[in-house]
């Protein structure tokens, strides 16, 4: 119950902010951070719970973005429909990739997902309808009431998506599915022997995770009013989606949220403060420091701190 109140408050807060006189920059930066919350949460469903590392976040994100563009260009579909369709297509992509490679050891799945990025990017580069290699500028439709600007609307949309993603991740985590996924991560062979339909669960996780990544990607073309292959399929998305849960903690739904807010905000801040090579370094250094020194992320550190406080009393 507490969780649902929290989620409702989050959405209400986002909407309230969007309708208030808050500085526009907040929504641009906030959109990006929330987008990473969705991506990190989605990644964690397969990567954190089941231990299967998906490097292909960029592929699912990019395909989501392009699905939205196709629908927008062909039918002028509204944003909600674009997001829904993107989720379906990216989910199918997740299902297909999973079907092909989830039978194999985890690392093969990881490599296959890298291959998916390149294949999808190449396909989009060669597809004239969506602009091909030159990319395409998109004219945003007029903003809907009651929002003052399109970006405010996108911000609220992304906040809702984040809440949906976190709710799904939490549902999976506390349900039988989550227990099965954890069993897979701990010992896939034992899981299978104790009744866990491992392939089905992994496929399910991969599909849901892909769908959420696609949904996150769907809002990007409207945010940029522009689409082109290299930035849509940028490796940055793959790395961030992996780094954020690692930094936050992978075993709890809160981990990727913390990681995304932390790393996402840091990235936003260094972009407008340091403004040179160092801002690229931040992700790398944080990632290495956390996986080496704090294997359970921020959540693990908090747990240790609490334990330490209790025992020192």
């Amino acid at each position: 119950m507490k969780f649902w109140i929290g989620m409702a408050v989050t959405v209400a807060l986002a909407a309230g902010l969007a309708l208030s006189r808050t500085n526009e920059y907040f929504f641009y930066a906030g959109f990006v951070v929330l987008q990473f919350v969705v991506l990190a949460t989605a990644w964690n469903i397969l990567g954190g719970y089941a231990g299967y590392v998906n490097f292909g976040t960029a592929a699912f994100f990019g395909i989501g973005a392009y699905t939205a563009v196709v629908l927008f260009k062909a039918a002028g579909a509204p944003l909600a429909l674009q997001i829904l369709a993107a989720a379906v297509i990216s989910g199918l992509l997740g299902f297909g990739t999973g079907l092909l490679t989830l039978r194999l050891r985890g690392i093969f799945f990881s490599i296959a997902t890298v291959a998916v990025i390149f294949i999808m990017e190449t396909a989009m580069v060669n597809w004239r309808y969506v602009g091909g290699a030159t990319g395409m500028q998109l004219l945003r439709p007029p903003v809907m009431e009651p929002f003052e600007s399109y970006t405010r609307m996108l911000f609220v949309t992304m906040a809702i998506l984040a809440v949906i993603a976190v709710s799904i991740a939490r549902y999976i985590e506390v349900s039988w599915i989550g227990r099965g996924l954890r069993a897979i991560r701990d010992s896939e062979e034992a899981a299978e022997c104790f009744g866990v339909p491992t392939l089905q669960l992994k496929l399910f996780a991969c599909t849901v995770s892909g769908a959420l990544m696609g949904a996150a990607g769907a809002a990007m073309p409207m945010y940029m009013s522009f689409i082109e292959p290299p930035s849509s399929f940028s490796l940055t998305y793959s790395v961030s989606a992996l780094a954020m849960p690692m930094i936050g903690g992978t075993s709890h739904w809160l981990g990727p949220v913390i990681g995304a807010i932390l790393l996402g905000s840091v990235q936003q801040i260094v972009t407008v403060t340091i403004s040179n090579e160092i801002n690229v370094l931040v992700v790398g250094v944080l990632l290495v420091v956390f996986v080496v020194a704090a294997p359970d992320g921020v959540l693990g550190l908090l747990k240790k701190l609490r334990w330490w406080l209790r025992s020192s009393r």
Partner: protein, 239 residues
């Protein structure tokens, strides 16, 4: 005559050019205590991997309770009543002892969360791990891990339990403890296949024993008969 619980008919398995099992056939009756012995690399673990579904056999068939199961996935076989323990314990190390049992209770038996927890606690009590229910499973001692392996197998409510070297590396009194658990299980009607290196334990426990060597059955009989068999002696002594 009652149909046997498990029939293995002409099962073979190769790894590359190496023949791990060649045309192995055996039958296990309902309620039996069955021993499987053989030197290292003789194919014991490969055989039970084929039965439990971790591996697919190439030729032959595996029939459980009248049903051909050799094309079924491992989890489907578990749901039909085959459970196993692992030679090297493979607990779900991120979970508590109790939760380890909740996995099969949910996925195999189909209990809801509350019932599964109650049932898991009951099983832990019978096996003597109740006080460790909330302990993370990666903090257990060797004998506790062995017990957890068995408890988790029990939670799958099997008709056939395959115990893969459940006593390896245990001290004498610990071996007795585990043996007693297995005897008690058998008394409730569960058929048990025991794979064991500790001869004394197999001999005490089994009603019937099969000895494998180089992927073939070299003899079958009562424990007393097996020990005297010259082929078995040769296989073990490497003469």
């Amino acid at each position: 005559m009652v149909a046997p619980l498990l029939q293995v008919k002409g099962v073979s398995k190769h790894f590359g050019g190496f023949s791990a099992l060649s045309e192995v056939s055996l039958e296990v009756a309902e309620g039996e205590r069955f021993g499987l012995i053989g030197p290292n690399g003789s194919g014991k673990t490969t055989l039970i991997n084929c039965v439990s579904g971790a591996l697919r056999n190439e030729a032959g068939s595996i029939v459980f309770r009248g049903e051909e199961i050799s094309r079924l996935a491992a989890y489907q076989r578990t749901r039909r009543g085959i459970a196993r323990s692992f030679q090297i314990p493979r607990p779900f190390h991120s979970m508590s002892v109790l939760e380890n049992l909740v996995v099969p209770l949910g996925y195999v038996v189909g209990l809801n969360d509350a019932d599964a927890h109650a049932e898991a606690l009951r099983i832990l009590k019978t096996i003597g791990l109740a006080d460790k229910a909330q302990t993370p499973s990666n903090r257990l001692s060797q004998v506790e891990l062995r017990k957890l392996e068995l408890a988790r197998a029990m939670a799958a409510r099997p008709r056939l339990l395959i115990s893969d070297e459940a006593m390896a590396g245990l001290a004498g009194n610990e071996v007795d403890e585990v043996l007693k658990i297995l005897f008690d299980l058998n008394a409730t009607g569960i058929t048990i296949i025991m794979i064991e290196h500790i001869m004394q334990a197999v001999m005490r426990f089994s009603q019937r024993v099969i000895c494998l060597d180089a992927g073939r059955i070299i003899c079958e009989g009562t424990p007393a008969g097996i020990v005297k068999n010259p082929d078995v002696q040769r296989a073990y002594l490497g003469a």
